[in-house]
């Protein structure tokens, strides 16, 4: 998935780094200092629908059927996350205990068209 450049109108991954200092949370989140909050945005024209994800040959077959019968799907395909990874956090709870945990699916790694 391309990361978003200003001139990229198509579905891409928009990278943002959030420093916990910016949130004023550095007092209770000990590690890491921040994390990547990426999200997906951009256009998904019909010929990109379902990619990546389903087999290209299957997709081209569906797409040619659509064209041959002059059918166009009424809904639009959306740019959504297709791969994520967990984030390991070390933080203080309200009792002053140190907790180390892995939060699943916190960082978007890749985007695609639904």
């Amino acid at each position: 998935t391309p990361t978003c450049e200003p001139e990229t109108p198509l579905c891409c991954r928009r990278d943002h780094y959030v420093d916990f200092q910016e949130l004023g949370w550095r007092d209770w989140i000990l590690q890491p200092e921040g994390y990547q909050l990426n999200y997906c945005s951009g256009q998904c024209p019909p010929h990109l629908a379902g990619s990546p994800g389903i087999a290209a040959s299957f997709h081209s077959a569906v797409f040619s059927l659509l064209k041959a019968n002059n059918l166009w799907p009424t809904g639009t395909s959306c740019c959504v996350p297709t791969a994520r990874r967990p984030l390991s956090l070390l933080y203080l709870d309200r009792n002053g205990n140190v907790v180390k945990t892995d939060v699943p699916d916190m960082v978007v790694e890749a985007c695609g068209c639904s």
Binding site: L10, H16, W25, D27, L30, L89, N95, G96, N97, D102
Partner: protein
């Protein structure tokens, strides 16, 4: 609101950079709190001293290199000596109430270097509600081979918190005389180092949360 007519991920939407940044920061707060199952950011009236914190994390660091499934937790003790010259202390912990998820528990204590001869630590559950007040349930025994940090493995079943979030343990010591009977240790200064970075702490390993554990189970 400006995007009401179109969802932002379906293309075509561009936000001014300041608005996008404010949105991202707000989203980050929601995402982290939701990921940690917290209603809001915790306020910590009694943060642990930095020295104790870094010492405890350094002590655990080698083990936490493997990918951790579940949670690991360090809970620092509030220490009350029953008698400064005696060989016993009562430790009070405030772990979060997660009795069913406890997999492993270890108590770390720093023994002062002033005790001559062999010494044995005995750890008791203290004041558990189901027992008469002040009664003692033996949890662990540990021979002390020298001053410094000692790690006592505890049975998770013996650590269920009684009152919401409060756990009391009592540490006693005696000097076994070779044939298994114990005699009171010679009087000496305090058994445990409890100041600063030598504060006792519990190291707990918790099973991963069940997906949807926060919600009521449908019967």
């Amino acid at each position: 609101p400006a995007a009401a007519s179109q969802c932002p991920s379906c293309g075509g939407l561009t936000l001014p950079p300041q608005v996008e940044r404010a949105l991202v920061l707000e989203l980050a707060k929601q995402q982290i709190l939701e990921g940690l199952h917290l209603p809001g950011r915790p306020h910590i009236p009694r943060p642990p001293p930095r020295a104790a914190l870094s010492r405890a994390l350094r002590r655990l660091q080698p083990r936490s290199a493997e990918p951790a499934r579940g949670e690991e937790l360090i809970s620092f003790a509030e220490v009350a000596d029953s008698a400064p010259a005696a060989c016993s202390s009562v430790l009070t912990f405030r772990p979060p109430p997660a009795p069913a998820r406890l997999l492993r528990a270890r108590l770390w204590l720093h023994v002062a270097p002033t005790r001559p001869g062999a010494l044995r630590l005995r750890l008791f559950r203290w004041g558990a509600r189901r027992r008469p007040p002040g009664s003692r349930a033996l949890l662990a025994e540990h021979p002390v081979r020298g001053p410094g940090w000692q790690a006592l493995a505890l049975p998770p079943s013996g650590l269920r918190a009684e009152a919401p979030g409060v756990l009391k343990l009592r540490v006693d010591c005696d000097a076994p005389d070779g044939n298994g009977t114990a005699r009171p240790p010679p009087p000496a200064p305090r058994l445990l180092d409890t100041a600063g970075e030598r504060r006792p702490f519990l190291e707990l390993k918790l099973r991963p949360r069940e997906p949807g554990a926060g919600r009521a189970r449908r019967r």
